[in-house]
């Protein structure tokens, strides 16, 4: 967890059942399984006993396969979907207890949202799209135009205010969606698969941009995605969902290297092999290990990932030497430590804990 402080957004005991007359909820509270409930009552369990505390300024990612309830969860926060039971608290105020008019105020002032398919209004130009929520909030025309223009500037679309949404590419449309969320100047930003409809290169650009913006604005962000690579890239913490339940919550490293169960393990396997375990994360950088390393036949770069280390390790007879980009020796990977990282996640974590002073 990189941010600290008291929770800005707190979700407590949240359940959502669809097509339910109340009996399904009762069964869910008693702990019956999703399938049993659906068979007996026809109700579909969307969310089951979700508890999350999100700290102010944190970028919190909710990840899961489609149909796992992650989109339902984010919609329960601003009550686009009404939860069946449970509480959502925002800075000490209970959203789930709000009357309709209070909820509208909260949506205008506290909870901006960015959508997968952008949700732009095709009959308004880009500037007026960004200004629309401000118009709804009753802000005067000059003021809202100025704020909208600033937000467009922020996402690099300052010149495009007069264009119509259908003249923009997908990536630009989502920048408009993001600008619209930012212009509302809310403490919380809900993002429902914001980059999933974009192609990979644009997606990466926007992820970087989001991180840079977040650095500046420090909002509390709930970010929904089905893509673990994206989750690992942008998230301060990640919650993994399955069948409407949170399976694991933790820092990206933690989730990837130490999956809570086989479901998460399967999920994280690709990322573990390809991205998370680097030479730097499993090397031994202690003085003793570095001393007396003269044999430089087996040298790897510190940001080499496990996939690249494996071939080197197979041909090596000595510990691998880890160097940084400048060519200086920074650590050593004993072969048995590499082997452990290849076969066991727990070992990899242990190795990480020993070998790496700072993440």
């Amino acid at each position: 967890m990189t941010a600290n402080g008291e929770p800005a957004l707190s979700i407590q005991g949240l359940y959502k059942l669809f097509a339910d007359d109340g009996s399904g909820l009762q069964m869910a509270l008693e702990g019956l399984s999703k399938d049993v409930i659906q068979e007996r009552t026809g109700a579909v369990v969307g969310l089951r006993d979700v508890n999350i505390e999100i700290v102010r300024g944190e970028l919190f990612v909710v990840m899961g396969l489609s149909g796992c309830g992650k989109s339902t969860l984010v919609r329960c926060i601003n009550r686009l979907i009404e939860p069946s039971v449970g509480q959502v608290w925002l800075n000490g105020r209970e959203i789930t207890a709000m009357r309709e008019d209070e909820l509208r105020e909260a949506r205008r002032n506290d909870l901006a949202m960015v959508f997968q398919h952008f949700g732009l209004m095709p009959h308004r130009n880009v500037l007026d799209n960004v200004a629309l929520p401000l118009e709804v909030a009753g802000i005067t025309k000059p003021a809202r135009r100025e704020r909208a223009a600033t937000a467009l500037e922020l996402v690099g679309l300052g010149e495009w205010g007069g264009s119509m949404p259908n003249q923009l590419s997908g990536g630009m449309k989502q920048r408009v969606g993001l600008a619209r969320g930012l212009a509302m100047e809310t403490p919380v930003l809900l993002m429902d698969e914001p980059f999933s409809a974009l192609d990979p290169v644009i997606r990466r650009d926007l992820q970087d941009e989001l991180l840079a913006l977040q650095e500046a604005v420090q909002k509390t962000i709930v970010f929904i995605t089905h893509d673990l690579n994206e989750a690992v890239r942008v998230g301060d913490r990640i919650a993994i969902m399955r069948d409407g339940e949170i399976v694991q919550v933790g820092a990206p490293n933690d989730v990837v290297l130490n999956p809570a169960d086989s479901f998460v393990r399967e999920f994280t396997q690709d990322v573990r092999l390809h991205g998370m375990v680097t030479a730097a994360s499993i090397m031994d950088s202690s003085e003793e290990a570095l001393a007396g390393q003269t044999d430089d036949r087996y040298v790897v770069l510190e940001d080499a990932v496990l996939d690249e280390l494996v071939p080197a390790g197979l041909s090596a007879t000595q510990p691998l030497q880890v160097v940084n980009r400048a060519g200086a020796l920074v650590g050593v990977i004993p072969l048995e430590r590499l082997a452990r990282a290849m076969v066991s996640d727990e070992a990899a974590v242990a190795a990480t804990a020993e070998g790496e002073p700072a993440a």
Binding site: R75, N78, L80, L103, R104, E105, A106, R107, R108, L111, A112, M113, F115, Q116, H117, F118, G119, L120, M121, P122, H123, L132, P133, E135, V136, A137, M164, P165, N166, Q167, M184, L190
Partner: protein
């Protein structure tokens, strides 16, 4: 007996699940009664003749009720008539005052700007052709009738469609009524319309309304209901009220579909002009009617061709308007 109970009972009977002890106390006797009634009906069905005929009485009741309306609401009918006639006459006078070259020029120009140069040529030549057949005044009269009828239809249909889109219950109620309005033979309501408004353009306009309103209601309703869910969700997430949603998002986005409804309404109205002439409307419809009465099919054909030309011009122009709206919104 509450409808839910009826449904439950029917379900029990149809599924062969007999009422159990847990059911209501009257369910068993009621089931027996129902079976008894079915037997009686079956008996008479075999006897080849239905046991009752109250059709005449009911029909008579309706007549009495219509007479009562005629006697007691005549000031209202007179007021409606005055307004409609005033609009028709003013419009007609204005178009005649503009003279045929100006009118044809204006229509051709509109066709050019909205559709194409070819369409402008078609509009101009077809209207000139009608003028050479001595049908200009009738054409103007028909145009005035159509414009007034369509304007009234839209004023009724669009708010109704918007309302229906906001309420599933109203939608369910409205659906069979709209079906009825479109399929009920128009002569059935032409006669009471004459009784209320006497012969002339007013019953014609109202009879046409009954026929022309449904498509515009349906398309308005549909246009609003089929908007992409995420756009509406986005609007909701800004904290919009219901009215803000309707005025700032739903109606503007439904405009192309609403325009398609206007197009349909116009064509429906045109298809009614001959029937409307039976109750006293003038224009091309009357020319058709008169020619048929005098057994002059040639003249009837010319006037009929006039209706076709007017229909094509109006259709192409309103369709082009719809397309423009669609293009402006684009595919998001």
């Amino acid at each position: 007996m509450p409808p839910a109970a009826t449904r439950q009972l029917l379900t029990q009977l149809l599924t062969g699940r007999l009422p159990t002890g847990a059911g209501r106390w009257w369910s068993a006797p009621l089931a027996i009664l129902l079976v008894g009634v079915l037997f009686v009906i079956a008996y008479f069905a075999i006897a080849d003749e239905f046991p009752f005929d109250v059709g005449r009485d009911v029909g008579h009741r309706i007549d009495v009720w219509l007479d009562w309306l005629e006697d007691n609401l005549s000031p209202l009918f007179q007021a409606i008539k005055d307004v409609i006639v005033w609009f028709l006459i003013s419009l007609e006078d204005m178009m005649l005052w503009l003279t045929w070259p100006a009118m044809i020029g204006a229509i051709a120009l509109t066709s050019w700007l909205l559709v194409s140069f070819r369409m402008a040529l078609f509009s101009a030549s077809s209207l000139l052709l009608l003028a050479t057949f001595g049908l200009w005044e009738s054409t103007v009269e028909t145009l005035a009738l159509i414009i007034v009828t369509v304007t009234l239809s839209i004023m009724i249909a669009v708010p109704m469609g918007v309302w229906a889109s906001q309420s599933d219950r109203l939608d369910a109620i409205l659906r069979p009524i709209l079906d009825g309005m479109q399929t009920m033979p128009s002569f059935v309501y032409l006669v009471p319309a004459i009784a209320f408004f006497s012969l002339g353009n007013t019953p014609a306009v109202l009879a046409t309304l009954i026929y022309a309103v449904p498509p515009a209601v349906r398309l308005t309703n549909l246009g609003i209901r089929q908007l992409p869910a995420e756009t509406l969700e986005a609007a909701e997430s800004f904290g919009m009220t219901r009215n803000q949603m309707l005025l700032k998002v739903k109606i503007p986005l439904a405009i192309p579909t609403i325009m398609a409804g206007v197009n349909q309404t116009t064509l429906m109205a045109l298809s009614m002009v001959v029937i409307a002439s039976l109750v006293g409307a003038g224009g091309l419809g009357l020319d058709v009617n008169r020619a048929l009465g005098r057994i002059e099919p040639g003249n009837g054909f010319l006037a009929g061709l006039g209706i076709v030309f007017v229909a094509i011009i109006i259709d192409r122009v309103t369709q082009a308007l719809t397309r423009r709206q669609q293009a402006a919104l684009g595919s998001d």
